[in-house]
Symmetry: C2
Subunit: 361 residues, 2 copies
């Protein structure tokens, strides 16, 4: 835990740090983690993803568990090797995906039962099960299994969900430590992050942050935001939490956030890590960020004859090689997946440049 | 014309040659040209395409004319630059695509009228129009506009179509020479290939070959094959034509062929160039070639836990980087386009390795 993360400098609440992984890789923070849901960042070769300055890749436990299954990824050498990423990876716990299933899940103290949307099989995920699958998947950072509430329809069970998240974290830690002892006697096992919940209640968030920080976890994640609240509500919560983090050298990870405006706010509130499908999903729909967080559509008629790259001065693969807006527009109109992939490279690089601007080295 | 192509050696009918392009690029033959229909080889970055050993890219005049239009590609610096290929390109004439429109086209001596399948506009293509669009698109090799017949439903008009193809070639040559004089006074204009037609009639094919070879064209293409005839019929025609080619240093291009079995036969009958969507389309449907032209599906259950590359010993990007069959299978099941792209890289490399095996340097 002690070597895993160090804060190099803190300036006006902004932390500049380094994550050190078991294979010797170092990733400087703040950093954004692209999402390779099922073993690939959609349409992008690992080289292209690396070219954006991305250091850590996120893979989804829920999706990989459903297909092809943790045992397949394990047999392939774990997420990093199987995906041909050959760098640090993080797996989420499945808690968020289970939450998005809505009515077709059944939550109990033991865990969550739901139907596999693909084949109808009944699937059961619990804190122990999630940790076991994540150990199989073999990522460098794994996440606690949490109970996420819907801010609109389930506000009444915010406290209940938070308290369950806390009880589940204890079970996660126990299972994680059992597996670490069993499989990593030399201490080179994965790192476990706990997840702060509490919806939009400052009281609950405070209580949750204190609890999570009191546990034997290697990182502090903020969950349950970016789930339908307004930008103001999210920013207010980030500001509230900013000076409540303790001094332990643990990274702060804001889950599911990938809009540059939110990332700036979060970084200024002491957040070190992010993940989101937004930059790559937006890109598939032709939407890219350019200077000043302006969002433009590469399908726009005005780009028909534009021989300029997406953003003049950008150092991403797509801009440096001058894939022009004229070319992008034509490819989007022709439903060519390469357009989304190369615009995604730009968006990822845009977010990494944003992060780099806050780093001291 | 004299510098454009040279045959280095001929062994048992197999020609090993070099194409020299106006930018100084040399492409050794036999060679296969990947198809970048609308300005991209589906889902593949130009680097990945280049990594397969491909030297020339084909783009489709018909598709680019419909969208975004030749003027857009011209404003972007021509196919090679606009597509970010930065190497030699070839455009077809639209003749074959117009043929596939079937009943919705109307052929007259002047040209072909058809409805734009996208917006219903009436579009007219003629030999002159096709050459003009191809000059706008700016490829290094352009193709004559031909009248392709359906071997099953239009066999009765084989002679008519062949003779029209010949008359149209004369109009293509005239228009091409007019544009060359106008825009390329220094002689660095595109090369024009004529297309041999004649269906499955040896008599007509012979007549057509002699006519095409008598014209001022820079290359001899065989069209109207790989359109529904049996493999035996195609091979018989290739064998028939093999010793009928004249000695002029002009490349022989078999259009629309990309199956390794047919390519071997064709190369042994003196063919130098090929194009086809087969290797990339097959790959999108999980089908790849391995040693001995065996075709396997990467979706097969038996590959669930296979940590081997597509083909052990293959030097393509995907095999060298060991994207495993286990990974491919899972990505196909998840509809991840990267699987098709990387399997396409393997298939293209498979065909280029096949070609390289026949080259003397």
């Amino acid at each position: 835990m002690s070597d895993f993360f160090s804060v190099i400098s803190t300036t006006k609440g902004v932390r500049s740090g380094i994550l050190k992984f078991r294979d010797g890789t170092e990733v400087t923070t703040p950093t954004f983690m692209p999402v390779g849901t099922r073993g690939a960042v959609k349409s992008m070769s690992p080289e292209l993803v690396k070219s954006t300055g991305s250091g850590i890749l996120l893979a989804n436990t829920y999706h990989l568990h459903l297909s092809p299954g943790g045992e397949v990824v394990k047999a392939g050498g774990g997420t990093s090797k199987w995906m041909n990423w050959h760098g640090p990876t993080l797996t989420d716990s499945g808690g968020f995906q289970v939450y998005t299933l809505g009515k077709i899940r059944k939550i109990s103290e033991e865990g969550v039962k739901f139907r596999n949307p693909v084949n109808g099989d009944t699937i059961f995920l619990s804190p122990e099960k999630s940790i076991q699958i994540q150990h199989d998947l073999g990522a460098d950072i794994i996440m606690a299994f949490d109970d996420v509430v819907d801010l609109h329809n389930e506000r009444h069970r915010q406290r209940e969900a938070m308290e369950r998240t806390h009880r589940w974290l204890k079970r996660c830690v126990t299972e994680h430590e059992r597996l670490l002892k069993l499989n990593f006697p030399e201490g080179d096992g994965p790192k476990l992050f706990g997840i702060v919940q509490g919806g939009l209640s400052k009281e609950l968030r405070m209580e949750s942050l204190e609890f999570i920080q009191s546990q034997a976890v290697d990182g502090i994640a903020i969950g349950g935001l970016s789930v339908g609240e307004t930008r103001e509500e999210m920013h207010e919560m980030l500001e509230f939490l900013a000076d409540k983090f303790d001094d332990s050298p643990r990274p702060h990870y804001l889950m599911g956030v990938g809009h540059p405006v939110d990332m700036r706010k979060a970084i200024e509130c002491g957040i070190d890590m992010f993940d989101c499908v937004l930059p790559t999903r937006n890109a598939r729909h032709s939407s890219v960020w350019i200077t000043g967080d302006e969002q433009i559509s590469l399908k726009a008629e005005r780009f028909k004859l534009s021989n300029e790259p997406i953003e003049v001065g950008c150092d991403c693969y797509s801009c440096v090689n001058n894939f022009t807006k004229s070319w992008f527009r034509a490819q989007y109109k022709a439903n060519e997946p390469l357009a989304g992939a190369l615009a995604g490279v730009h968006n990822l690089r845009y977010l990494q440049r944003l992060c780099e601007g806050y780093r001291s080295k």
